[in-house]
Amino acid sequence: MKITKISLAIALMIAVAFTSCKPKDADIQAGVETALKAEPKSATTKVEVKEGVVTLTGECGDAVCKANCEKLASAVKGVKLPVVNNLTVTPPPAPVAAPVSTTTVMDAKVMQTIKDGLKDIKGVVVDFATGKPMLSGEVSAADRMKIMQMQSSAKVMFDVTKLMTKK
């Protein structure tokens, strides 16, 4: 009777010991993940913890971010040092190409294209005095769409604030 009680107690202790081991890694992982929030460029990093050893994988914005993540992770309680830092540094994205859809030069050819396009639309007048095609008059909603489509193909922004739409 006594023996079974003792063995039960031992079994219980073993069980407690085992289960207490598991959440520990989970706790460390949560702790590291929280700590990494201090590094804004670490959004795509992954944290793995095995028996207290932390492995960082994923992408970091730059070398500073990589080093900072390691530092932050190392400072978390329960982490076995050193932290395995397998973070890769993402090269900075190529600068965004300037939009292709605008021509800045209002030359004779562009003006002619605009005039050609507007020629068959009734009720619209175009003025190039300001350097930007200024449209005025009153057109139907369908014609207004044609005008905007023309703007896109001429690759020049029109000023249509004075262009009215027929109700």
Partner: protein, 138 residues
């Protein structure tokens, strides 16, 4: 970012319709979207969305540079309101009229000379430049 939010529906639709080479860029308060729509229906749908998001399209904050996929040899429909479409010997209204295509007629694309003028060939064999705005890829 605000402009991208305003036209988010348009951008999503462009992706959903599989607009090729689609790009979105914001510059000086204007959102530039460009790409090539597979067909006229997609093109029309995107323009209808633009008109819905920005009534009267008067804000001047969107440059929608979407064209329709048209390959040399492809068929184009003449979409004038009613009149004939002039076919000229140079890509300009200065060019001499060398032929005419009737409203609703089908012509063949020879080359996209630029965004405004396309070289076409009529069923009668007349070849020259026509204003692209009145040509819809079929």
């Amino acid at each position: 970012m605000a402009l991208q939010d305003k036209y988010a529906e348009l951008v999503q639709a462009a992706h959903a319709h599989g607009v090729a080479n689609f790009s979105v860029a914001e510059q000086n308060g204007v959102l530039h979207v460009s790409g090539t729509a597979a067909n006229t229906a997609t093109y029309d749908a995107l323009w209808a969305l633009y008109a819905k998001i920005d009534p009267d399209m008067a804000s001047g904050d969107l440059m929608m540079n979407i064209d329709i996929k048209a390959d040399a040899g492809g068929q184009l429909k003449v979409t004038t309101d009613a009149s004939n479409l002039n076919i000229r010997n140079t890509p300009s209204t200065e060019g001499e009229v060398v032929g005419k295509a009737a409203h609703g007629e089908t012509v063949t694309l020879v080359e996209k000379t630029d965004d405004s003028w396309w070289k076409v060939r009529t069923a009668d064999g007349e070849e020259g430049y026509a204003f692209a705005q009145y040509l819809s890829p079929m």
